[in-house]
């Protein structure tokens, strides 16, 4: 599938922002001063919001994007939009309460936390619900998105703790390491299992000509690349997939874990860890799209 930059940016940045928000409402980042509430609040909402807004950049009609909030009963894309708006409103309320010194009740935090992770789940289901892309249509796909949101969010929480000169307990640093390693463990499993997933169909079932024997494309229906091939037949990534996976793994997981082990209290080092993680996630998301093969390519002679 063609990797649209706006979509890669959206899933990566919004995912990180939602993950961070999850740990904040859990109370892991004590915000003592109004200034820190303001800074962290704006920063978190900006991560989620900028990602969402960027996702409209690839649309043919961005000015109609509001219509995407209407079909939540059937469409995961619509659900994602609705949930993201609700979560952002809830978070704005949460930060406003914290700013004025109030406390959000336990159930309020719980509801926000659930909504945050359901939003991440909805993002993943936009892709995981598509039967036409075998490797996306896999139970591990949502788990990858959820785990990366949690791991990236916790890493960012630690960096913010260090920047705000708040103590980071050894247990918290260890939890961040375990979470990051688990997230990449799930991703490695996804590459192994979902990455190998094949479509049930074949050129024979696609054309219904299997009864005659093996089917081979003779003439394409057009002389130049069309929309379908441009959108669904992206092949550049598959050539360099192994190298890019290694880059994603080392930047997104290896370096952050190394920093968490060696310098778990250094604000500078943790900031680098967050940046490396985000860079690694960009590569991971790019591969998620670029490596995926759409079942329509069967009509053009690709194998399942």
């Amino acid at each position: 599938m063609r990797p649209a930059w706006s979509i890669i940016f959206f899933t990566t940045i919004s995912g990180l922002g939602l993950g961070l928000a999850g740990w904040i409402v859990l109370g892991l980042l004590p915000l003592m001063t109004p200034a820190s509430v303001m800074g962290v609040g704006i920063g978190t909402l900006a991560l989620i919001g900028v990602g969402l807004i960027s996702s409209t950049f690839h649309l043919g009609h961005p000015e109609r994007a509001w219509r995407a909030l209407s079909q939540w009963r059937s469409s995961w894309l619509s659900r994602e939009g609705v949930l993201a708006v609700i979560v952002m409103a809830g978070l704005a309320g949460w930060f406003a309460a914290a700013y004025s010194g109030g406390r959000v009740p336990f159930w309020g935090n719980l509801v926000l936390l659930v909504l945050i992770y359901v939003t991440v789940y909805a993002t993943s289901m936009i892709y995981a619900s598509l039967k036409t892309v075998a490797r996306w249509h896999h139970p591990l796909t949502p788990i990858c998105y959820l785990m990366f949101a949690a791991a990236g969010g916790l890493l960012t929480t630690l960096a913010l703790l260090a920047i705000l000169r708040l103590p980071i307990t050894a247990a918290l640093a260890q939890a961040a390491i375990v979470l990051m390693l688990s997230a990449w463990g799930v991703k490695l499993a996804w590459w192994r299992l979902a990455g190998m997933a094949k479509h049930a169909g074949s050129i024979e079932s696609a054309t219904g000509l299997g009864a005659l024997g093996m089917v081979r494309p003779l003439m394409p229906p057009h002389t130049e690349e069309n929309y379908l091939q441009h959108e669904m037949g992206f092949v550049v990534a598959r050539r360099h997939a192994d190298k890019l996976r290694m880059i994603a793994l080392l930047l997104g997981g290896g370096l952050p874990v190394l920093i968490l082990v060696l310098a778990p209290a250094s604000a500078g080092a943790l900031a680098v860890a967050v940046l490396a993680h985000v860079a690694g996630m960009f590569v991971e998301r790019w591969l998620f799209f670029a490596e995926a093969k759409h079942v329509v390519t069967l009509y053009y002679g690709e194998t399942a």
Partner: protein, 247 residues
């Protein structure tokens, strides 16, 4: 509304006879011609007269070779929207622009609501949807909804442009929800098939597979014998041989 309606009694669709199609592309051209002036935005092209022309088309004809040896053949394969009963392109649409009509099952796009996100094209296993390069909205086969109910057209023209134009009668239009309709009978008689049944989309359009070849051991007709005149007998035999003798 992108929830699928209750299955309609009337299921309008096409039946395409792969035994007959000769791949002339007339249906492709007439589809583009009608739909560039009909429902919704024109079907745009980019770089139409340049080095890499491209554009939105609602109907495309592939060609395949199938089988080996005596039973093998070339099959021309027209492909357009199959107006699926369980259309994934409808349910994934976030705006309600993509919908299936309750009254006749036609899948359409409301171009005033479409945001051009392309998710419906991603969800379609058949590649039936193409984003218009100029208008930024999704285009697809409308089953010529602006022809089939159009009282301003003579009755014989009230069928999809591709069906109307097919010079070999390989395309048929009708109600596949009615088991007694001509198209349903055709599907029953020829064991019509669904494309990619494993995707679970329940296409309304059906394809009629190529008919089996005549058995290979059936003696071929001798064209030479057909070309030769009958050997004359009686009086004409005498005339024939006499004229031969005269030189």
């Amino acid at each position: 509304m992108t929830m699928l309606p209750e299955a309609s009694a009337i299921k309008l669709g096409l039946v395409i006879d792969l035994d007959i199609c000769v791949g002339c592309q007339a249906c492709v051209v007439n589809c583009k011609e009608w739909n560039t002036a009909g429902y919704g935005a024109p079907l745009a092209d980019t770089d139409a007269y340049g080095e890499s022309p491209s554009g939105a088309w609602l109907n495309r004809v592939h060609a395949y070779e199938a089988g080996d040896g005596a039973g093998s053949r070339t099959v021309h394969f027209p492909k357009s929207c199959l107006h699926c009963e369980d259309a994934p392109c409808v349910t994934v649409c976030p705006t309600g622009a993509s919908f299936k009509r309750a009254e006749d099952g036609i899948v359409l796009v409301n171009e005033d609501w479409c945001i051009g996100c392309g998710l419906c094209a991603w969800s379609c296993p058949y590649g039936a949807r193409e984003l218009d390069p100029a208008e930024g909205v999704m285009k697809k086969c409308t089953l010529c909804v602006d022809r089939i109910y159009n009282d301003n057209l003579p009755e014989e023209d009230r069928e999809p442009a591709c069906v109307r134009t097919c010079p070999t009668n390989a395309r048929h239009f009708g109600d596949l929800g009615d088991p007694n309709s001509e198209v349903s009978q055709m599907v029953a008689a020829r064991d019509g098939i669904d494309l990619m049944p494993e995707q679970g989309t329940k296409p309304v359009n059906k394809y009629l597979p190529p008919r089996p070849r005549r058995a290979a051991d059936e003696a071929p007709v001798s064209l030479v014998a057909m070309a030769e005149a009958d050997t004359p007998t009686g009086f004409w035999k005498w005339v024939d041989s006499t004229l031969d003798r005269l030189g």
